[in-house]
């Protein structure tokens, strides 16, 4: 910090090329390491000097200059904005057109870091015409260049649908889809994240991604040994499944649900989260899809997630997904109840350590399932422990089923449920009182007393 930048500045204009390269490399390393140094470099106005001679320089200088830009742009949006205002984007485009793959890699890395921060910077990057060049970079044989170009495309397309559409118009999807088959794990991570950022914005984009024939190849990614490949693969499937029932149907038909369920079963921690949300979205669209999820043995991994995970947001996602599965008809609710999920949900709801969001999701899914559940043996244990607002639903369900089923009535009495019902105090005229009255009317007077 002690005037290093001012000392390096004249070296950038030296006659000997290797001195220029080393000076640029030093600046790049300084900027990469620390935010204040990066700001000092920007304030000292070194960037225009760096840029001015760039087109005539050799590839090492271009690489070092791209390294400097990357180091500055990665810290914050304001620094990236300053970099763009110095006219760095045109120079980076020139670097991207260069033949040396190392130069292209450095340039696309810098472009990726600029585009990462917000939508305006991404728009500026796209306006400079980098997207077709990046698509060309993806087709190059060097793996590192492919990785970085894929991550840059992912950063550009994540901000808005128009940017994603620009990326798609440059023909990126076909190349990205081909690269899913590549054995390199880091490349697969970036490619899957790029596809999921494109697919998440709208139905048309998701359909375009699906038309590139990624299924069933994506399912092999879910079995990869690298955790982040699994996570990004599950994210991609989630972004496709969430738009319409037809897309979810397609995913179910190609066996995607089974793969996702296996993936959830084999992973631990945040890696599971996109898979859980995929199941929730698929089940939410229609009851047939929800039944398909149940048939593919989806409930037990979700239940395990609820029990084993420590993070609240994963538990909340699992609770939400279970609610979506069970809320359609009595049959669905029965499957969910048989898996012994309801007491777990109730425990989460009652637990003081759970966050607000988790409690709300658990309570909502519990209510949704209970409103359709007619499987009384699962409801009985809940009767003893439930708080007041849940109790209303449980009693309501009992009052719907008991008048018609004599065996259930007998069971209800013998298991002590009737006694419990008598102990509940309710205001006269409220819904709860009506339910209690309905239940009491099913039995002869002596038993009620």
């Amino acid at each position: 910090n002690s005037g290093v930048v001012c000392l390096l500045r004249p070296l950038l204009l030296d006659v000997v090329p290797s001195i220029r390269q080393t000076a640029a490399l030093a600046l790049g390393r300084l900027a990469d390491y620390d935010v204040e140094l990066a700001e000092t470099i920007v304030k000292a106005g070194i960037l225009p000097q760096l840029m001015c001679s760039l087109p005539e320089e050799n590839r090492y200088y271009k690489k070092a200059a791209a390294f400097v830009l990357r180091g500055i742009a990665k810290h914050s949006p304001q620094l990236a904005q300053a970099v763009v205002q110095c006219g760095a984007l045109e120079m980076l485009v020139i670097c991207l057109e260069d033949f040396d793959p190392g130069v292209k890699e450095g340039a696309s890395w810098a472009v990726g870091y600029i585009a990462r921060h917000n939508a305006e910077l991404s728009q500026a990057v796209v306006d400079a015409g980098t997207v077709p060049l990046l698509v060309l970079c993806i087709q190059e044989p060097e793996i590192a260049l492919k990785r970085i170009a894929a991550s840059t495309l992912s950063d550009i397309s994540k901000h808005s649908p128009e940017l994603a559409q620009t990326v798609v118009d440059a023909g990126a999807i076909a190349h990205l889809a081909q690269m899913i088959l590549n054995p390199d794990a880091k490349l697969k991570r970036q490619v899957l994240s790029a596809l999921s950022q494109i697919a998440k914005h709208s139905v048309d984009l998701a359909e375009l991604v699906v038309e590139a024939e990624i299924f069933p190849v994506v399912l092999t990614c879910l079995k990869d040994s690298d955790e982040y490949v699994k996570k990004n693969g599950a994210t991609l499937i989630r972004e496709i499944a969430k738009h319409t029932p037809e897309l979810s149907q397609f995913i179910v038909n190609s066996g995607g649900v089974a793969a996702v369920i296996d993936c959830i079963g084999s992973c631990k921690g945040t890696v599971r989260l996109p898979g859980i949300m995929t199941l929730g979205y698929v089940a939410a669209h229609s009851e047939n899809l929800s039944m398909a999820v149940i048939v593919s043995k989806g409930i037990s991994p979700l239940c395990n997630c609820l029990i084993e995970e420590h993070e609240d947001h994963i538990k909340a996602a699992a609770a939400w997904a279970l609610g979506q599965i069970g809320r359609h008809t009595a049959e669905h609710a029965r499957h969910v109840a048989i898996a012994n999920v309801l007491p777990t949900l109730l425990d989460i709801f009652v637990d003081t350590r759970s966050s607000e969001d988790l409690k709300m999701k658990a309570s909502r899914s519990l209510k949704n399932i209970l409103q359709k559940c007619t499987y009384l043996p699962a409801l009985e244990p809940l009767l003893h422990e439930a708080p007041h607002n849940i109790m209303k639903h449980i009693i309501g369900q009992f009052s719907k089923v008991l008048p018609h089923d004599s065996k259930a009535r007998r069971l209800f009495v013998t298991s002590g449920g009737l006694k419990k019902v008598q102990e509940i105090k309710a205001e006269p005229g409220s819904l709860l009182q009506e339910y209690i009255n309905t239940i009491n009317n099913c039995y002869p007077e002596e038993i009620v007393r």
Binding site: P141, A144, P183, A258
Partner: protein, 316 residues
Amino acid sequence: RAIDEDRKTKYIAALKIQRWFRACRVRAYLRHLSKTATLIQKWWRGYLRRKNFREVVERAYFIRKLKFYNEMAVRIQKIWRGYYVRKYIHNFYALKKYLEAVSVNNELVRSELQEYAEMKENEEKMKDLEKKEKEKKYQARKMHYLLSTEQIPGIYNSPFRKSPDPMELLLRKSKPLTHRKQKIQSSFADELYDWPTCKKPPAFVTALPLLPADRQKPQGPFRDPAEVLRQRYKPLEPTLRVRESMNSPPARAREATGREEWRSPIHDNEFLPFSSYHKKAEKYEPSLCKSGKYGREAYGTKHFREVYPKKWIADK
């Protein structure tokens, strides 16, 4: 006076009787009137009703028929709708079959994925094994001196063992390592060796290959390396025509006008720059072999032009 009173009472009685009788008569008259009114009304109403009777009956009949048809139609619609919904919209059996198909498909997918995972694991294991083998072979080559000789048994070939150690066998098989400097394999090569097109490690190298300052200049008429590099890496600056891609709008426009011209050229005879050459080409020139007066010429095959050195001028 008794007669007077008598007469009065008689008069009064006569009045009473007459009054009574007149009242009776009036009552009878009124009764008669009401009876006839009733009769007239009865006959009139009957007449009216009998006039409208047909219509009323027809209407009632029509309404009864309609009600009947409506009921029957409702029955048909009820049965049809139940059938249709059960068959097509909420087809239970199709749903069951679909769910079974989904589970079968899932099983398939799961088994395929399992195979894929196993295959990957096997590949990993094979890679590891190969690496270990390579390591061992390299070590054996390096430690070739530990091989046992005729006189002295090596450490891996103890005289108390029945057969030599596998390491001993490896040592026997391996070629001794020369002391030439070996190329250091970078760790990236292991990751990428099976991906055919990428042969070198990641291209972005953080250390620039700087030439050492005290490197001796190579002998000979070599150019300055900076110049050479500049020439080598001179960026391509194609002309505007070359730079434009084939698919850009001006190129396409040019193509369109080119096609027009080809279709409808103004001059049918093309401009031929060497027209006499072309004229010559049109003329037929008989070949030498067959162009003699009576067949083949002897000149060119049997004899060539004779040489008369005496006739030459140049030497003189």
